[in-house]
Assembly symmetry: C2
Homo-oligomer: 395 residues x 2
Amino acid sequence: MCAARIIVGQSGGPTAAINASLAGVVAAARSAGVEVFGIRHGVEGLFANDLIDLNVALPTTADLELLRNTPASWLGSCRYRLDDPSTNPTDAEHLLDRLKELNATALLYLGGNDSMDTIAKLSWLANKRGDEVRLIGVPKTIDNDLVGTDHTPGFGSAARYVALSVREIARDADVYNLKSVTFVEIMGRDAGWLAAASLIGGADLALLPENPLSLEELIGSIQALLAEKNTVVVGVSEGLRAPDGSLLCEQAQANVSRDAFGHLAVLSGTARVLAESLRERLGCKVRAIELSTTQRCAAHATSELDLTEAWQLGELGVTAALEGKSSVMCALERCSNEPYTTRTRVVDVANVANKVRSVPDELLDPAGTGANEAMLSYLRPLIGELPPLLPSLTS
Amino acid sequence: MCAARIIVGQSGGPTAAINASLAGVVAAARSAGVEVFGIRHGVEGLFANDLIDLNVALPTTADLELLRNTPASWLGSCRYRLDDPSTNPTDAEHLLDRLKELNATALLYLGGNDSMDTIAKLSWLANKRGDEVRLIGVPKTIDNDLVGTDHTPGFGSAARYVALSVREIARDADVYNLKSVTFVEIMGRDAGWLAAASLIGGADLALLPENPLSLEELIGSIQALLAEKNTVVVGVSEGLRAPDGSLLCEQAQANVSRDAFGHLAVLSGTARVLAESLRERLGCKVRAIELSTTQRCAAHATSELDLTEAWQLGELGVTAALEGKSSVMCALERCSNEPYTTRTRVVDVANVANKVRSVPDELLDPAGTGANEAMLSYLRPLIGELPPLLPSLTS
């Protein structure tokens, strides 16, 4: 192979930082003098031969800078579930054949858990077939639930948006001289990382999927807070579960649809269920706010660190590919909180795929606010400083 | 009276700019060497003698700068409905007596339509009694529905947040290779100014209360858009009405509560009602997003012009009071769009109270996107430039 050729795609839910990783891929490829092609809508674009020469489409440094600050998946995304090649290799064979036809040095796949599953499956078959193409995952997910990395690009920006919004919601709720409880619903299917960011924004409690919900304890905590202050704000993970393990939001939805991965496609209504359940017992103004998809792509409230790290992992994907690495995911390892330092590395993608990194017990505080000081120390550098506000007259 | 004493209060719903007006009041009072006291929770703090010496509480320029950038009503707010003094003068007499006991030169009341009603009623009685206290309204409302002023402080920041959020929601919705329609619900009880800001964010259609809704025409418009593109985004005013004049959101709410002013206290679900009504007919992915209270106090996405003008109107309130003006509201008059220039003035508050400034016909476009180019020219300077994004591959 005379010249290297990088193929890059984006998959899974969009974030505010996944295009920064794409910009990092293009910048590193350009700097190494190799070709870089983008596939539209993830592996669907590989099947359909829908490719873009990114050196042509994004010729200048200014283009890459704009791409870095543009939310969602610029190349388009997909939620295509690859069959397990050990039982049904058709899909994976087709994709590897396409990569061979394209003379691809590497496929870089920017995505979350399901995208790492795709890279792991392709890696398994490529290894079996003896294909030389390098298969590399670059992580992104606002849920921060990938194993093998300290955190995932996209999370810091979403967490910053959650912290900023919760802080503003709390100020908004506090203007009248009356008692109120506000439940703010935050994304996070299986892990409470993002909901914990509400504590940085001043939420009094964060209800994470990792903490078993006891309604009686929750009512007791809220009543104790209301005895001290007018305004109580509770960050609620959309994935919060009742003690029997069922999702709280299922109580609001007669028919819950599932996506191709068997996930619940629509998780919403958790805050609303709580508000409706507790309104009478709490005996004060109770409302539910759903941050919804705005938290996923809030380009106007990104964490600069997040965009920088997203870019770095995109660059690392290219470097690793050109060094001959394959079947790996690019990752961040935290060296210290203060000052915040990390190093990058690659990890075996087979150890990442289909695992969920829940919030570990040592960061939880089920009898307190939901998460402890160690969690706040973990979150703060990722979120960055919030602009100062004048202290509230009531706080 | 040897030294002037300004009393200032905040009332009605919070905004991201109402504290900038308060900061302007304090700055102007300080500059004029007069006392300035804040009342907590609007007129409730006047009844309850709950006052703060703002020269003591906010001694430095840095404090005022912080206050300017702090969302919601720092002094606290209320929704107290004053009885009409021509039929029941008790409340108004009580408040004017309190102002006399306080040796108040002026009461500056920062608020929306209902606050101007309070100032108008107090003015009526003060005039009848021969009280010398000056009664001055400083406008704020994200709804932009006050007459007598080109626009209201608070609106520009809310409109900027709406435009930014809708733009990001549109990018988020566009990542998969499928047809989708997203209804984004935007505040605005009786007027569509804020919903129109969704067009600046790239919404395809804006459904304003001023445009009578025809479901069949809406379906036709959306289907025509879907024939051309994958992703359709519709900004929906919470106050959207069915052809029979009923609020769409009432169809979702069996019991709608009303506040002390007889307004619907909770308007929500308009986007959800539309999504549920049209899902089957549109035959594609349809979702509803409610921006909720986050649009009201988004200090992290303010319009600089809005904060500057809010400050200026606070200053004007003090100047007008010291010049002996009373029964007025501070207002903005637009001189030109490009370059954007305004001048400030005061208007008779009796001509403001209890009127709603709907979007006039000459800014509407009921058969098109909802609002026309003249509306966009009106909105652009108030919202300010949005940070550039890389053009979408599909746009």
